[in-house]
């Protein structure tokens, strides 16, 4: 334990400004630790590349690449100079489709996760903090959602709600919030049992103060790590749903590309160029998120961190 506070002594600046600096410093420390996770850094680089690709999609392949009436390629042509990854069954470039598909896959994965995490955090935090019948109901509900087979529920709900990007997002969020609730609740309970909450109560702190000043900041890092690990699940779920034919066929996501490939006989036609890119893209994004998530967890969850005894 080094006395880092000593070097910040200097002329007394306002505590707030200094606090900001401390925060910056701890961010830097976090980054220094994160940087030591080799897989995490790889994942981060991969992820940034993919996000960049998704953002630049209009530059790399203009929107007309998705137009069926303007498509010039042949039906499931193998890779060629004009079409580095071949074409799909309507003559569009698989490369362009895959690049454009990244946008929707990422958007669905991220939005669904944000929704799920939001629901999960609010429910978990409040139920953990307040207890009582409210917590009982929240807990039962999340337990219930937790044990239900996610894909089954998602399929059923999608069949009911109809297919669109919005419903897909909602459905994925609905089947994945429960884990976060449990996590947040467990973490809330454990923070709740820490002496510093007792101290805060003894200082006269109210519920709001306890939740926002003490519990939430201590729960957030774990939520962040778990959210990072939720994104891959969401992306995989989306692709599975789309592949099963439960997505919106009018939009281009990796899952829907694979669905089209499957139903238009790409496997029979041995059109590997049609099957590989979207699948590999999913694999890359998912493993990138997993790597980042696991690295975050390793940094933020000291249980996994320490070597030795």
């Amino acid at each position: 334990m080094t006395d880092t506070h000593t070097d910040s002594a200097g002329p007394p600046a306002s505590p707030r400004a200094l606090a900001r600096r401390r925060r910056r410093e701890s961010a830097a420390r976090f980054w220094a630790q994160y940087r030591r996770q080799r897989a995490g850094v790889t994942g981060l680089i991969l992820l940034s590349a993919i996000v960049l690709l998704a953002l630049c999609a209009p530059l790399l392949a203009d929107g007309s690449a998705l137009s069926v009436t303007q498509a010039t390629g042949g039906r499931m042509d193998p890779p060629s100079a004009g079409y580095p990854l071949g074409t799909d069954e309507t003559g569009r470039s698989v490369l362009a489709l895959t690049i454009w598909g990244s946008r929707l896959s990422l958007v669905i994965g991220l939005t669904a996760t944000v929704m799920a995490v939001l629901i999960g955090t609010v429910l978990g935090l409040t139920s953990g903090h307040f207890g009582g019948w409210y917590a009982w109901i929240a807990l039962r509900l999340s337990d219930w959602f937790m044990v239900l087979p996610g894909l089954v529920v998602a399929i059923a709900l999608l069949a009911v709600l109809g297919r669109s990007v919005a419903t897909t997002i909602t459905v994925i969020a609905l089947v994945s919030w429960a884990g976060t609730t449990r996590l947040v609740r467990a973490q809330t309970l454990s923070v709740q049992a820490r002496p510093y909450l007792e101290r805060a109560r003894a200082l006269g702190a109210g519920h709001w103060h306890q939740m926002t000043r003490h519990i939430l900041p201590n729960v957030m890092p774990l939520v962040l790590a778990s959210a990072t690990l939720l994104v891959p699940t969401a992306i995989l779920t989306e692709s599975a749903l789309a592949w099963l034919g439960l997505g919106d066929p009018n939009v281009v996501s990796w899952g829907s590309i694979l669905n089209r490939a499957w139903s238009s006989g790409a496997v029979s036609a041995r059109a590997w160029w049609y099957l590989l890119p979207p699948g590999l893209a999913i694999l890359l994004v998912v493993s990138a998120f997993m790597m980042v998530g696991r690295a975050l967890e390793a940094v933020l969850n000291p249980r996994l961190r320490g070597g030795g005894r």
């Binding site: 334990m1 880092t4 505590p15 600096r21 401390r22 002496p195 510093y196 007792e198 109210g206």
Partner: protein
């Protein structure tokens, strides 16, 4: 603030508690925990206790006897099942606002300073938390600095932006104490304040408590299972067994001349103890859900086992008749033991 101006309710207790201004008192306090299966753990089972400003009271006893529960009940963190806590003579009310006001005056210091500090808050935040909650106004910085230097962290500015993990255990405990002092309380309840600290550091913290008592007139209830500690700082000591105080009085008298068999046993096993032969207690661990009838200590009592009680003719009473709650307002010493039937002297 407001609490001082609120008209005091009519006195309810016969032995008017808290005659000293700012005193914190418990009267007939019972705290029970409902356990699964309908059992109740009577963690505190009838306690009378006074803590006045400028006085350090030690509460000793073995593990699980209800010390922490009593301390928490005194702070209003636990609602008693019976009995009252009074502050300044007025019974504590468990409304959010009333509790908040009360907690400006009575503060808590916990055993484990590492746990008691939020790892994400700087020292400044931790100390300023109380004043912020109570919207104390004034110069917050100034207040924090004062509290820190009072607690012996000087220069205070040096510590403002340290995180708890950058401090040593003793420093952390000082921060916790500073956090309590920032509200300028009258009484501090410290639950095992040095139990988790290194031996050589303990003395410093204890010395701080003594100094605060002398300089600021602070009152303190120090919960401990270490009788040596009580010897070093307490004016008075209360020994607790299974939810009750079984002996209390001036610390030096009680420790050098323990009267209750339980206190004697506790003192006897210490190195260089004034009790010549170590007394190792027999019998089951006390269990707050199963408090024996009669004297609650009789199952393990060495006096009863050795026949001394029978010789004194009180063995029947030991097994069969319950002892009254030790009154807090009795003069010097009080012992809840049939062998000392007079109860006090």
């Amino acid at each position: 603030m407001s609490i001082d101006r609120r008209p005091a309710p009519a006195p309810v207790e016969t032995a008017a508690p808290g005659t000293v201004a700012g005193a914190l008192s418990a009267r007939g306090l019972h705290v029970g925990y409902g356990l699964p299966g309908g059992r109740t753990a009577r963690a505190v089972d009838g306690v009378d206790l006074d803590i006045a400003p400028g006085e350090i009271v030690a509460l000793a006893g073995e593990s699980g006897c209800g010390k922490t529960t009593l301390a928490r009940a005194l702070l209003g963190l636990e609602r008693p099942t019976a009995g009252t806590v009074t502050h300044n003579g007025s019974p504590l009310r468990y409304k959010t606002k009333a509790l908040k006001a009360f907690r400006r005056k009575v503060q808590l210091v916990l055993q484990d300073p590492t746990g008691a500090l939020n790892p994400r808050h700087t020292v400044y935040d931790a100390v300023a938390e109380g004043p912020r909650i109570h919207r104390c106004g004034g110069d917050e910085r100034e207040r924090v600095a004062r509290a820190l230097s009072q607690a012996g962290l000087r220069p205070a500015e040096k510590y403002f932006l340290a995180y708890p993990h950058e401090l040593s255990g003793g420093q952390r405990q000082r921060v916790v104490i500073a956090g309590a002092l920032a509200l300028e309380p009258e009484i501090i309840v410290a639950d095992e304040p040095v139990a988790s600290l290194d031996a050589s550091v303990r003395g410093e913290i204890l010395a701080l408590l003594l100094r605060l008592r002398d300089e600021a007139g602070l009152g303190a209830l120090v919960v401990t299972h270490d009788l040596g500690l009580a010897w070093s700082i307490a004016d008075r000591i209360a020994v607790m067994y299974l939810g009750r105080i079984v002996e209390q009085g001036p610390a030096d008298q009680v420790l050098t001349d323990p009267r209750h068999p339980y206190t004697r046993a506790l003192v006897s096993v210490l190195p260089n103890s004034p009790v010549p032969e170590p007394i190792v207690l027999e019998g089951e661990t006390p269990d707050a859900t199963l408090i024996p009838g009669g004297c609650r200590f009789h199952l393990r009592c060495q006096e009863l086992a050795s026949g001394a009680a029978a010789r004194a003719g009180v063995d029947g009473a030991c097994r069969g008749s319950e002892l009254p709650v030790l009154r807090a307002d009795t003069a010097d010493r009080a012992v809840a033991c049939h062998l000392h039937a007079s109860g006090s002297e």
